[in-house]
Symmetry: C3
Subunit: 133 residues, 3 copies
Amino acid sequence: LRDLEALRRLPQEYSRAIDARDLDAVAALFDAHAVIDGARGTLGIDEWIGGMRDAGAAFATSMHVLGAPLVDLEPGADIAHMDTYAVVYQLGRADDPNVDLVLGIRYHDDLVRRDGRWLIRHRRAEALWTRDR
Amino acid sequence: LRDLEALRRLPQEYSRAIDARDLDAVAALFDAHAVIDGARGTLGIDEWIGGMRDAGAAFATSMHVLGAPLVDLEPGADIAHMDTYAVVYQLGRADDPNVDLVLGIRYHDDLVRRDGRWLIRHRRAEALWTRDR
Amino acid sequence: LRDLEALRRLPQEYSRAIDARDLDAVAALFDAHAVIDGARGTLGIDEWIGGMRDAGAAFATSMHVLGAPLVDLEPGADIAHMDTYAVVYQLGRADDPNVDLVLGIRYHDDLVRRDGRWLIRHRRAEALWTRDR
């Protein structure tokens, strides 16, 4: 049960970190060898973070609203899986503040416990839909 | 506490099943004698599932984003109540892909534990609002 | 863990109370000396509730969709902090039913346990974004 509580914190910590564009705090939620499958293809965590750092913020404001995760965890295991629905608001595009995007995303995360902390070691970000507002 | 964790999984499993249009997986979350009060009136679970099966998918994509449920459970009881807020995205209407609907719904669920599993035996889906996008 | 479950209920109870405009039920979630920092400035709970009562409902329908809170609680402590993302739908403005507002808000709540119940003693409602629909 304590592990479920710890796991449940992780998506919410991700939201706060990414919305603050605190990329070090984002990276700290992932294993050093983590792999991310998403809009930019399959990338190691360093490449993925570096790409965001280089690109700068594409929108003035972002808000990652994450639902309650569906957690699969065998009692006592050191690996877990989380499946989390997200609605991501990307508001005020850098080159045209009138442009907003809203995206439906489903995060499929494999997690591992290292030194008592849960970390994402593989994330697949499944894009369900995108709409301009 | 374990019951709360089990109950909390249920709305998230419902989302995944209904959004995948896996109607067998949806039905498996309900008691065999479950009753649903919703947009199509008061229906038994078989009628309710059958109606969806016959109608086919009205929209290309759906996403049921469910908030954390408010769970009422007496310690040790075999019945529970859950009250869950949902924003339901129905995107790309079958006959006009430019039409999207977004609905605010509140699910009032009575649940029962059978053979160690929690199942919905009565659902009232309260439509709070509907907007085209 | 029981405290986490009790704390987790609170934002969901807030949603139901405020969306029903049951201002007594809203007030019951706050400490008698609570302070709210929000859109109307810094107000004591009585002033804040009184202001809402006097103003009447500005919109026909509201829905406060709150994500899972990020809870900080030391084991056994009588104070806690919750950080909760919310998307607030304010639909059908009283003076023009065609006007809807959608707001992204982050609630920063300090809580205290009194006689076994958790109450909000300080809330900062951080407005992240506002859009008409």
